[in-house]
Amino acid sequence: MAEETEAFRYARHLLLEGWDQEALRNSSVMVVGVGALGCEIAKNLALAGVGTMHLVDMDIIEMSNLSRQLLFRESDTGRYKAAVAAEWIANANPDVEVIPHEGKFQDLPIEVYEDLDLILGGLDSFEARFQLNELAWRLGKVYIDSAATGFKGNVQVIVPPGVENVAERTACLKCFYPIPPADGAAAAACTVPGHARTRDHCIIKGEEAFIKAHGKREEYSVEDLEIIAGLAHDASVDSPHTDEWTFTAPEVENLLMNKLPSVITVNAVVASLQSHEALKVLHRIKGRDIGPPMDPTYIEYSSQYGILTPVEIEIDPACQSCSRTAGDELPLASWTLGGLLDAIDGMGVPAEKALITRTSDGAVVSNFGKGDVEADLAGVGVRSGDGLRISYKVDGERTSIEVTVKEGEG
């Protein structure tokens, strides 16, 4: 009886040429980030009949999630996203074994990753996306990355070498963005000299006044945000450049907590593109075929104009994630001071705050990023295979690492 129910559940899939429900039932995926993208991905793959699904998210559900994250209800606010999403999936398709992880993917034991066929990312932090990209690459797992903000989004399929039947090795996320952009609340970190001129200025002035009176906070409660909204109003009254404006707690939160603009329709399109790539890859991993992974491997969706644009991304032979050959080798794209500083930035070390010296004799190669970026490294006595020591400060503590520089291939 159970088999018959299953046959009816997936009856329309059986009409698809090449589709193999058994292959999907035997597949295991991980969805990292169960937010606006992750909810859609988890829903799509669960209804399609993927057998095992790990859901990873450390966040709890907030009211502002409910406009885009269909697995959650108002009564779920305050609960972990991964747990609630797992309940939804278990109800929607009991065939799926769903395993929630209420924490960071970086903290999961490596054994959790070993049985996975692929990893899908729906993360909002660039740094976390880089880490997941590198982890998947090192483990030889296909990683499908996505991002969405405002009216646009993108998907990138990343295939490491040696994944049978899927595709040739592709560029990775870091080939595309060698240097991670700064994450975090940029607005909250700045100050506004003189009088406020814009609504954002008023909110920043409001936060400054709040910190003076109440001290700095990592997170703001609703009450804090309401106080800041009142102080932002005061800033608008005090300024000769603005009218008397009123502010709401959500507007204050959006700016100070660096919230991303987001709408369900864009998230749904991006997550659908990503989910379908996952279904194709899973079929291929199991020796079946409903189409190859998209080529080019990067696609951008713009909802304002209804445009989908594929973009060719070449493998970076000096990529710090996917082209590092061994341990501490540092391949450089160009044998110049700029090439060296780029490569060091790519390791996540701030090159402009580092002292770089030759390991053999301590000669200074770069003094806190100063110098002509076009200068040939040979001119300062650095040759392929030389060891360099990179010294820099982390949280006020000086630390150093040693690398062997190599000319990049290709």
Binding site: D124, S125, F126, E127, A147, A148, T149, G150, K152, G153, N154, C175, F176, Y177, P178, I179, P181, A182, D183, G184, A186, M257, N258, K259, L260, P261, E300, Y301, S302, Q304, Y305, I307, T309, V311, E312, I313, E314, D316, A333, S334, G338, G339, L341, D342, V373, E374
Partner: protein, 88 residues
């Protein structure tokens, strides 16, 4: 000052294509600032300039990289891609 043709992804060709003058000694990082201003790209987005599939590194001298890649001013365009720069 040499002019280059840029094409911003996600915009129709007419709005998305612009000629922008980039100083000969400007790095890609400098060029990105000029491109960001011309297209009015929000600070919430990170941008990348891609030519023939190769993202241009920030410290690369823009004109030199394009010379190396045999940029043809009459027919080639440099792709401008933007995506979320991280947030919550």
């Amino acid at each position: 000052m040499p002019e280059y043709t840029f094409r911003m992804m996600g915009l129709p060709p007419k709005q998305g294509t612009k000629k922008i003058a980039i100083p000969a000694k400007a790095t890609c990082g400098d060029a990105k600032k000029l491109v960001r201003r011309q297209y009015k790209i929000s600070d919430r987005l990170v941008i990348q300039l891609v030519f023939k599939g190769h993202p241009i590194r920030d410290r690369e001298v823009f004109s030199k990289f394009l010379d190396k890649m045999k940029y043809n001013a009459k027919k080639d365009t440099i792709t401008v891609i933007s995506q979320q720069a991280g947030g919550r």
